[in-house]
């Protein structure tokens, strides 16, 4: 069997299973990123709150999560926590991934919130807006827009990191690759095919991200002229 034939046979044999596993990869990534976004926002608010205890709490969280290898976090949650409460593989994996990405997102959100000009806050407050209303309608929308490139980056990292939950028996894409290569003794070709699945996922995601970024762009005279023509 030559190289091309091996690839074709892998796709024939595992293509559908890989595709199904891809949906699990997508869903565990999506769930973990929702968790990460919530965690990230909360800790970003802590960091910009100027309340000593909250700032320190956020620092501690970020220190621990950034300091631990993700696989350690996943194993800890899976074996550690599930001895107390029963977590499904999927939930344990999603939570671990979410906690991990959340620390990075917290720093991204904090930076983006602080990068919004102080005058925006002053203008909103001087109109009589409360601090929460100012944050939600004036500061966060601008911060989000600025955070998009960094968020996209972190989301892509999150997508790829989701492969690590294969080690707690979540049957996502990488775990299928492990099984398939053990069956067919063609690890090189198998991982090559799986690699392309990941690349395709990242490509689709990148295009989506560019679209969102363009949609949110209100900038510049040129853009405003274009919209009028």
């Amino acid at each position: 069997m030559n190289f091309i034939e091996s690839i074709v046979s892998i796709i024939q044999k595992h293509g559908t299973a890989f595709l199904e596993a891809t949906t699990i990869t997508i869903s565990i990534t999506a769930v973990s990123l929702v968790i990460a976004t919530v965690i990230g926002l909360v800790f970003a608010f802590f960091k910009v709150s100027n309340i000593w205890i909250l700032v320190k709490l956020a620092d501690l969280y970020i220190f621990i999560v950034r300091g631990l290898p993700l696989i350690v976090l996943i194993m800890f949650l899976y074996y550690g926590i599930s001895s107390v409460i029963v977590l499904s593989d999927f939930i344990a994996g999603a939570v671990a991934l979410g906690i991990h990405s959340g620390a990075y997102l917290a720093e991204i959100f904090r930076g983006a919130i602080q990068s919004v000009d102080r005058g925006q806050n002053e203008a909103a407050r001087s109109l009589g807006m409360t601090a929460p209303l100012t944050m939600s309608t004036i500061i966060l929308p601008q911060a989000f827009k600025r955070a998009i490139p960094a968020l996209g980056n972190q989301f892509i990292i999150g997508l790829k990191d989701s492969s690590l939950v294969a080690y707690i028996a979540v049957t996502e894409l990488f775990s299928h690759a492990l099984t398939a290569s053990a069956e067919n003794y063609m690890p090189f070709e198998t991982y090559l095919v799986v690699g392309f699945y990941y690349l395709a996922l990242v490509l689709i995601f990148t295009l989506l991200l560019n679209y969102v970024e363009n949609r949110l762009d209100t900038g510049g005279v040129a853009k405003n002229l274009k919209s009028k023509l």
Binding site: D117, G119, Q120, E122, A123, A124, R125, S126, L127, G128, M129, T130, L133, T137, I138, P141, Q142, K145, L216, T218, G219, G220, V221, K223, N224, L225
Partner: protein, 240 residues
């Protein structure tokens, strides 16, 4: 309408306002002038509590702004503030900039808020800009929109913090004209500015500040032609 007594403000060890006492009457246009670092912007920003005061009292229609228990958000709804850097919301269109506060705070319907916004834009000659984003506006247009945004809250008093200082010279006039109109309509205004022409023409009273004190206050004619204090004279001789 506004009564400021013994107002002091420090940033750390630096005392910026040392002892400010002033009364601003309804429908009065008070222009604050002085060298940079004299505390005039800080004074203005204390009037709507953008700066926390160190001591002293500020009464606005008998509400004590320095009282920690008052709802400052409620008070600010009645005080319009115009900034040197405009501070329009860049992610919102001109129309949205104007209607957001009336809708979210005054709880007006979108229809009502928009009708009011269009009336303001009409007066300013900027109706065709309603759907554009601030990035596409000139500095003068931005500042006029900022004034419309503040007016949409129907404030009792308007504070202007060097409203024309960031503008190209050819755009200063259009903003000052709007402010003159506003003064004519009887708006109570406190204006920090370097535009002496405006102070002379529109101001009912001019306050000269230096090093955290009000050195002199008088009618524009009085202050510009017969300044009483040496420091006022020195300042005016440099700029006139």
């Amino acid at each position: 309408m506004i009564k400021v007594s013994n107002l002091k403000k420090s940033f750390g060890d630096l005392e910026v306002l040392k002892d400010i006492n002033v009364v601003i009457n309804q429908k009065e246009v008070v222009v604050v002038i002085g060298p940079s670092g004299s505390g005039k912007s800080t004074f203005l920003r204390c009037l709507n509590k953008l700066e926390e005061t160190t001591s002293g009292t500020i009464l606005l229609d008998n509400i004590n702004l320095t009282d920690k228990k008052i709802n400052i958000n409620k008070v600010r709804q009645d005080i319009g503030m115009i900034f040197q850097q405009f501070n329009l919301f860049p992610h919102k269109t001109v129309l949205e900039n104007i209607i957001i506060a009336p809708m979210k705070i005054r709880k007006k319907s979108r229809q009502e808020a928009e009708r009011m916004a269009y009336n303001l834009l009409e007066k300013l000659g900027l109706v065709e800009k309603a759907e554009t984003y601030p990035d596409s506006l000139s500095g003068g247009q931005k500042q006029r929109i900022a004034i419309a945004r503040a007016l949409a809250m129907e404030p009792k008093v308007m504070l202007f913090d060097e409203p024309t200082s960031a503008l190209d010279p050819e755009m200063v006039g259009e903003v000052l004209n709007v402010m003159k109109e506003l003064a004519k309509e009887g708006m109570t205004m406190v204006v920090v500015t370097h535009e002496m022409g405006f102070a002379r023409e529109v101001g009912d009273r001019v306050i000269f500040m230096d090093e955290g004190y009000i050195i002199e206050e008088a009618s524009p004619t009085q202050l510009f032609s017969k300044p009483q204090h040496e420091r006022t004279k020195a300042f005016l001789s440099k700029i006139l």
